[in-house]
């Protein structure tokens, strides 16, 4: 169907140029640093994979990695089912639909540090509505001193911030289902659960794949919101990979270890996304 023409490369060339400048050149620099010990511009020593070995043995890296995986798993487990539920509650048409969609879109448009500020103001026991309300219930709650409270607050904030994305994607998927499917299900006397399981869920597969992939990669990169809300604390209990990497790269200026860390970090996200994507595709093939 499509015409074959290598002249199309001319149309793609500007994108390739921009991406080469913004992504390829910096990534090459990082790879280059990760195998050298750099004292100053003149004195560099090739050290092979030493920095990688050191990073993989660094207990603080491993702890941050464990926290990161735990956090991503937690927010995905909360946001995906909740997002599907919310999407099914939105009327497909009517005056309220656009209003709901706009309200849902609002958290997505707020700068990430402002999301942190909003929750800081909202959850602080002294000036925050949530913090004060929980305290009034007689529960001791302080996200700056208790690691458990910090995690709960972060997870709640992430749900507040990102469930809308899952919901909007799923709503778009639901809106694309032809009404005939529902009529057929009604004729068969299908229960609500059966309609969801056998009509809606199969049609949501592609948007859900996208939603999980986006939430997976973005939750693995989280930096700004915990940076503002908890600063990685109390202790290091909410220090995730990006925060640790940033403190290494900008705070201490350890070029070699930070570069090796960066490469491992990027590869980890690529690997997890690839694993998820191929497993979804493979199961789809078996079912078909």
């Amino acid at each position: 169907m499509q015409r074959t023409s290598n002249k199309a490369w001319l149309a793609v060339a500007p994108v390739v140029l921009v991406v080469a400048f913004t992504a390829v050149a910096p990534l090459m620099t990082v790879v280059n640093y990760s195998v050298q010990d750099i004292f100053d511009v003149q004195t560099r020593l090739f050290v092979g994979l030493d920095w990688y070995r050191e990073t993989l043995r660094d207990p603080r890296f491993l702890e941050a990695l464990a926290r990161q995986l735990g956090f991503s798993a937690l927010v995905l487990a909360l946001e995906i089912p909740l997002g599907i539920w919310i999407a099914r509650c939105i009327p497909l048409q009517g005056r309220m639909t656009v209003a709901f969609l706009i309200i849902l879109a609002v958290p997505l448009l707020i700068p990430w540090n402002v999301v942190g500020v909003i929750w800081q103001i909202f959850a602080r026991p002294d000036i925050g509505l949530l913090g004060a309300a929980v305290k009034a219930l007689g529960v001791s709650y302080n996200y700056t001193s208790s690691a458990v409270d910090a995690w709960i607050t972060l997870a709640l904030m992430d749900v507040w911030h990102w469930t809308s994305l899952v919901a909007l994607l799923c709503f778009a998927g639901l809106a694309a289902i032809p009404p005939a499917y529902y009529q057929a299900a009604e004729l068969d006397g299908a229960s609500r659960w059966q309609v969801f399981r056998h009509v809606q869920l199969p049609h949501l597969k592609s948007v859900l794949t996208i939603a999980v992939l986006l939430r997976l990669m973005d939750s693995l990169m989280i930096y700004t919101e915990p940076f503002v809300l908890t600063g990685g604390g109390p202790g290091a209990s909410t220090t995730f990979l990006s925060q640790y990497l940033t403190s290494m790269a900008v705070g201490q200026f350890d070029l070699g270890p930070a570069a090796a860390f960066s490469v491992l970090y990027f590869l980890l996200i690529l690997l997890l996304c690839w694993l998820f994507y191929t497993s979804v595709m493979k199961r789809g093939d078996e079912a078909a």
């Binding site: 169907m1 499509q2 015409r3 074959t4 023409s5 490369w9 149309a11 500007p14 994108v15 140029l17 921009v18 991406v19 992504a23 050149a25 990534l27 620099t29 990082v30 099914r88 509650c89 939105i90 009327p91 497909l92 048409q93 656009v98 709901f100 969609l101 706009i102 879109a105 609002v106 997505l108 448009l109 707020i110 700068p111 990430w112 500020v117 909003i118 929750w119 103001i121 909202f122 000036i127 925050g128 507040w160 994607l169 778009a172 529902y182 969801f196 996208i210 986006l214 990669m217 693995l220 990169m221 930096y223 503002v228 990979l241 990006s242 990497l245 900008v250 070029l255 930070a258 970090y265």
Partner: protein
Amino acid sequence: MSARNGKAHWSLYLYCLFLLVPLYWLISMAVKPNRDILGGLELVPSNPTLANFVEIATNPAWYGAFINSLTYVCLNAALSITVALPAAYAFSRYRFLGDKQLFFWLLTNRMAPPAVFLLPFFQLYSAVGLFDTPLAVALAHCLFTVPLAVWILEGFVSAVPKELDEMAAIDGHSFPFFFFRIFIPVIRGGIGVTLFFCFMFSWVELLIARTLTASEAKPIVVAMTRTVSASGLDWGVLAAAGVLTILPGLTVVWFVRRHLVKGFAMGRV
């Protein structure tokens, strides 16, 4: 579930409440003087004041930062659309050497954590003399906006029947005439949605914007973090700045509200 008969389930109202209450609290903080904020909880501000907003509107450090942010966000959106549109057309209409690989490779850039790029970006943009300019941030944000723009636009371009291109050729229109006068008007909805997403991802980003700027091009998100540490706890002004950063997003979402669902329906965010 009452999704199909035009009425919303009660849990949706509950969820909207959950979304709006923290926002209400931010807005109520923004119109309170600091002594009321620290003086105890009050659900409705008893001494509403616009002093916090006046502070932002009259202090060049604040409104300058707003202008800086808007500058790089607009630059980024213009740049992203300009380079992504021809590429999206090529990906949709032609087969060429390495097209699929190139498309997926573009998307992998979306998976790179910004923290990874801090070191090289700082050095790269310093080396070419762009450090601390809005252009540096605009270019750096292309890291994720350009792959995204190509991805979304490709979906919209593919939704336009190829017969349109062929009819234009038969009618004897040159390709540039077809592309700018016929094709772009046809997919303007897609361009709007793409602008929305470019805006959204560039406006909300902090880490790269902070790394590539110092004093001259300091964006609003950075001005906010620095104010917290510098002047202690000026919660009122901080909340007011937060309220103001939400407004551009609301404006944009209002303009593309009709196209938004279609954009999401492409499954391409």
